[in-house]
């Protein structure tokens, strides 16, 4: 499919990366911290967190559900399993109980007629708000009351952080990021080494820690610890555009396990250095790597007053899309039928629909859409950290079948994603199901189709029967 002749790849293929991650994830479970507080304190902290995070928006949504059941039509986990407990409306039941007992206008009554929340209730909640909700927001598209269940689920994740009930894989990474500032060990040293490797093996320069730059680019742990192709591709695109860019070693990580787990103090701890670095170097644009949840962590976080910041934040697909629209990306044709999977966090919950499609069109692609696309796109099933949870394997596998069906119905032989988490999930699903489709990252695809650049380094290996 690619018009570029492949040379010896610098980095392992994404297929190999995906397999490597599976081993690392197993170790995470063993590293997870054990609860230290008493049961009653854990319950109290969860309740206090929900009370603190409940504003009028949440209260109205909790009041509004009429249990009409329509959200079940939208949820991939419910549709894939038919199991009542995964109905989106059930995912707010415990929150509503706390709300009714502690905040609602009839709280004195509900305190009389409802039982107290127990640790067991919170333990049961874990599966509903972590394993079986990727906060994709699709149920908000069908709810006749317009309830945004994903937001309510996120608050409950915060409550479970307070109750020391984060699933082990997410908790291990949360603790690593909290205490060491790294994810999978991706430290500033690892970044430097990766940049050196890229320079040596592929001759592509990555400007690190320049004192001033127009554009600050973020990387991600997936890039640094497994697939250097993502960072290499990013560098090739930036260099092709000839923009004034840099990566800052004191603020380079897109992945935010604070947001993923619901630990908003860690969220802030991760975001602050990035914002500070961007301001220090006088950046006009902050480009977020293909790491879906990093987009809401930075661009859309309601607590980050981005209107007052001197720089604009955008996702990699948005950045490339704007340059493609302006005709600055010169790309060789991409043959075959291609469909684009909108990651929940950049699509329905982010609004970056046109830009990635503009990039694909700039490659003269025969772009076909899945039956449910853009704001109606089905989640791949691995978002919001669920890809990491071993316990959620069945849910992920079953819901991925919906996604495969959608791609198959589009007639495409390649599905392009723009999110490392989606990509890992697609790749795992492709391997498990011996699926005859190619799964590509948008930025790597663009890098492989750049014209006028000395072609060295990796080309995405051709995989599967469709290639």
């Amino acid at each position: 499919m690619s018009t570029v002749t492949a040379k010896a790849p610098v980095f392992p293929s994404f297929e190999q990366v995906c397999q490597g991650f599976a081993g690392q994830i197993t170790q995470l479970r063993e590293m997870a911290p054990k609860p230290t507080l008493s049961d009653s304190v854990r319950v109290r902290r969860a309740i206090d967190t929900l009370i603190a995070e409940t504003n009028a928006d949440e209260a109205v949504w909790l009041e509004s559900c009429i249990r009409c059941g329509q959200c079940t039509n939208a949820c991939h986990y419910f549709q894939a399993t038919g199991d009542s407990k995964y109905a989106p409306m059930r995912k707010m039941n415990l929150y509503r109980k706390v709300y009714q007992r502690e905040i609602g206008p009839f709280r004195w009554w509900y305190k009389l007629v409802t039982s107290e929340v127990k640790l067991k209730d919170l333990e049961d909640l874990q599966e509903l708000v972590y394993d079986s909700c990727s906060e994709c927001g699709r149920c908000a598209m069908v709810c006749p009351m317009g309830i945004d269940t994903a937001s309510l689920v996120h608050h409950q994740r915060s409550a479970l952080v307070a109750a020391e009930l984060v699933p082990p894989e997410l908790d291990a990474l949360r603790m690593e990021q909290k205490h060491y500032g790294t994810v999978f060990g991706a430290s500033a040293d690892v970044l430097r080494k990766m940049i050196d490797t890229i320079r040596e093996k592929s001759g592509v320069d990555i400007p690190l820690d320049r004192p001033q730059a127009e554009i600050m680019v973020l990387s991600s742990a997936v890039d640094l610890m497994g697939n250097g192709n993502g960072l290499l591709a990013t560098a090739r695109v930036m260099n092709h555009l000839g923009v004034d860019w840099t990566i800052c070693s004191d603020g380079f990580e897109s992945a935010n396990f604070g947001l993923l787990s619901g630990d908003m103090s860690l969220w802030k701890k991760q975001v602050d250095p990035i914002v500070a670095a961007a301001q220090r170097i006088g950046a006009k644009t902050l480009v977020i790597a293909e790491c879906g949840h990093a987009y809401p962590a930075l661009r859309w976080n309601p607590m980050l007053k981005s209107g007052a910041l001197p720089f604009e934040m955008m996702y990699m697909s948005e950045f490339m899309g704007r340059h493609a629209k302006a005709g600055r990306l010169r790309l060789s044709p991409l043959k075959g039928k291609v469909t684009f999977h909108d990651p929940c966090k950049t699509g329905r919950r982010g609004g970056a629909f046109d830009e990635p499609r503009a990039v694909l069109k700039a490659m003269g692609t025969d772009l076909v859409e899945m039956p449910a696309n853009k704001e109606f796109n089905w989640c791949c099933g691995g978002g919001a950290g669920i890809f990491l949870l071993e316990r959620a394997t069945h849910l992920r596998d079953e819901s991925f079948k919906i996604k495969m069906q959608q791609v198959n119905m589009s007639g495409a032989d390649t599905v392009v994603v723009s999110c490392a988490s989606c990509r890992l999930n697609f790749e795992a699903g492709r391997q498990k199901n011996h699926w005859d489709k190619r799964v590509e990252s948008l930025v790597e695809l663009v890098a492989d189709h750049l014209i006028d650049e000395k072609k060295v380094g990796s080309v995405t290996p051709i995989q599967g029967a469709a290639a």
Binding site: A56, E63, C68, G69, A87, I103, G146
Partner: protein, 216 residues
């Protein structure tokens, strides 16, 4: 005091007081809470206002969900419209409203009133049958069934009173009015409040997504 006097007098008046006071209490209890500001920069400077469209657009499911929600949407519309017509369209109801407010308008012929009442009841049965037959989808609570009974009761008793079925007319009429009193009195406490919440709930989500340039 006869049962009918009680129903027409203290029962309906107190239920109206509970309806109004309870509704105001519940609405205020929620709406006085602070609203968390979204400090992030909107995709379009004035894009957020577009979100209010959701209050109206969500009145009908989007094409993506038309097939899946067809039965319920159709039945819910039939029920709401038929009930509204019965509530404000038949002569005894208009006379009751005139007694309270002084306002008056021409009523429907009796046969039409009965027909619409039957349609409302049938659609309500169609909805509860679906709820009962698909427990995994609805996750029903006792509140759902209670609300159904509270809504169905005035329809059933009203039709019975009109058709002179059951006890003598005055008793049946009293039971009908008492069932309406129960509906009024229950309204602020259960899910019937969605009659108010839908505006706020849809608007909030519409604006939150419009902020990001997404039309829901």
């Amino acid at each position: 005091m006869t049962l009918l006097d009680f129903a027409r007098g203290p029962a309906i008046h107190w239920s109206l007081i509970i309806l109004i006071a309870g509704t105001i209490w519940r609405l205020l209890g929620v709406l006085v809470l602070t609203r968390g500001a979204d400090l992030s920069r909107p995709r379009d400077a004035f894009g957020n206002f577009k979100g209010y469209r959701t209050v109206f657009s969500r009145a009908w499911p989007s094409g993506e969900f038309t097939t899946a929600t067809r039965y319920q949407t159709a039945m819910a519309y039939v029920f709401h419209i038929a009930t509204l017509i019965v509530v404000i369209g038949i002569v005894p109801h208009i006379e009751f409203i005139t007694g309270l407010t002084g306002l008056s308008w021409p009523g429907l012929p009796n046969a039409a009133g009965v027909a619409v009442g039957v349609i409302a009841l049938v659609s309500l049965l169609a909805l509860i049958m679906r709820r009962v037959s698909k427990p995994a989808i609805y996750c029903s609570t006792w509140g759902d069934y209670f609300a159904w009974v509270v809504i169905a009761a005035p329809l059933v008793t009203g039709l019975m009173a009109f058709a002179h079925l059951g006890p003598r007319y005055e008793t049946m009429l009293a039971i009908h009015i008492l069932s309406v009193a129960l509906l009024f009195a229950w309204f602020p406490f259960g899910k019937l409040m969605h009659a108010f919440w839908f505006v706020f709930s849809r608007a909030q989500s519409g604006v939150a997504y419009a902020h990001k340039g997404v039309r829901i």
